[in-house]
């Protein structure tokens, strides 16, 4: 399905980045056609420097020639522009909650998980404790829902892609047990629903490739 607005949609991204992946997931869930351009950080493209001169980071969405960086800002823009399969709820209070959890994921939860997986022996115990605490509060937010968005994938599910997919890989490399069925049964179940969702499944980077990529970083 071509873009309803008849104009090209382009994504500057990095295949291994969960932030880039959020944009891809959102476009795919809406059935929006787009061109994808892989960025090599060692050699930033002219496009990237032109479209995100401030941060020089991916992802960047370019729609009708207009650039937009910042994954969560992009996801909300996608939801505003292509109104099928809404990613945010209609009710203002539910929307505020969705935004709160997405922000908390970026500000608190993702960093805690990332730090734990990359921690050295000295800081490990504390980092792991914080990561487990972060997963606990995320699980509480899920309650008994299938997805954070209810019956369908929503903003928070997309924002939590790192938790749903990346964490399993990183914790294996680090030799840690963070998100497990024993420790967080509801959240673990959500992660399985997430990665097995038909659209999500085909939009995630291949596991072997991601594992190899992070394993290589770990040995540096």
């Amino acid at each position: 399905m071509a873009s309803e607005h008849g104009e090209e949609v382009k994504v500057l991204g990095k295949w291994s980045s969960p932030f880039s992946n959020r944009v891809v997931l959102s476009l795919k869930l809406k059935g929006v056609a787009y061109k994808y351009s892989e960025e090599d950080f060692a050699n930033k493209s002219d496009d990237l420097l032109k479209y995100n001169p401030i941060h020089k980071k991916v992802p960047v969405l370019i729609h009708k020639g207009n650039p937009l960086p910042e994954s969560l800002v992009i996801v909300e823009y996608i939801d505003d522009t292509w109104t099928n399969n809404p990613l945010l709820p209609q009710d203002p209070y539910e929307r505020a909650l969705a935004r709160f959890w997405s922000k908390t994921l970026d500000d608190k939860i993702l960093p805690a998980l990332w730090n734990a997986c990359w921690s050295d022996e000295k800081g490990r115990d504390k980092a792991v404790e914080e990561a487990l605490e972060a997963l606990k509060i995320l699980q509480e937010a899920l309650k008994d829902k299938r997805f954070f968005g209810g019956e369908t994938i929503g903003l928070v599910d997309i924002a939590a892609n790192f938790i749903g997919y990346w964490v399993a890989i990183l914790q294996e490399i680090a030799g840690l047990e963070l998100l497990t069925i024993e420790k967080f049964p509801k959240l673990y179940k959500w992660s399985q629903e997430f990665v097995n969702h038909p659209v999500i499944k085909e939009s995630l980077p291949p596991r072997d490739k991601l594992f190899a990529f992070f394993k290589a970083s770990a040995s540096k």
Binding site: I54, H63, K64, N66, L68, P69, E70, V73, I74, E76, Y77, D80, T81, P92, Y93, R95, A96, R99, F100, K103, T104, K108, I137
Partner: protein
Amino acid sequence: MGDEVILLNFWVSPYGIRVRIALEEKGIKYENREEDVNKKSPLLLQMNPVNKTIPVLIHNGKPICESLIAVEYIDEVWNDKSPLLPSDPYQRSQARFWTNYVDTKMYEIAVKIWKSEGEEKEAAKEEFLECLKLIEEQLGDKPYFGGDNLGLLDIVLVPLICYTYTYNIYGNFINETQYPKIIAWSKRCALKETVSKCLPEEQRVKEVFSKRRQDLNK
């Protein structure tokens, strides 16, 4: 309409000021409740268990945490007047992007200026001024970032510019002649009653920061 709106706040917090300006712009009746940040009320801990911070907007008993999320909520619920965000999706995304930029980058640098000394402090000031230049470009020739009226970006900038420029909390480092548009904008905002009633008194703010400086140096 029978709405109950409470704001759990701490008077000197720039984040609290953001929410208050939004409430004032919309003409919403609300109760401002002062929290003692050293002795948080049971209500605050109940309403914001994740971060335990102010401001928290409580609308008919339901809490909305994080100042910018509260501002967007206010805009969506009281949507009959004074829109704080543009209706066009791209304009809206731009407003959110720049607001995020000020909220994360510029506020962080301001804290760095506050906490550092010597060379590090000077470098942080330079960084802040570079950001300010970029922001000024966003203003262009509009009276406010929101156009003819205050928008989300105005709201996030007002407390920051008030403290860093008007009240000079970090020392005099913003040269009025180099940022004429921002300075003019800042004065224009201060003339609005919806803004001026939310800005705490300069002397009181200076006293708090002076005490914080002493505590920092201990």
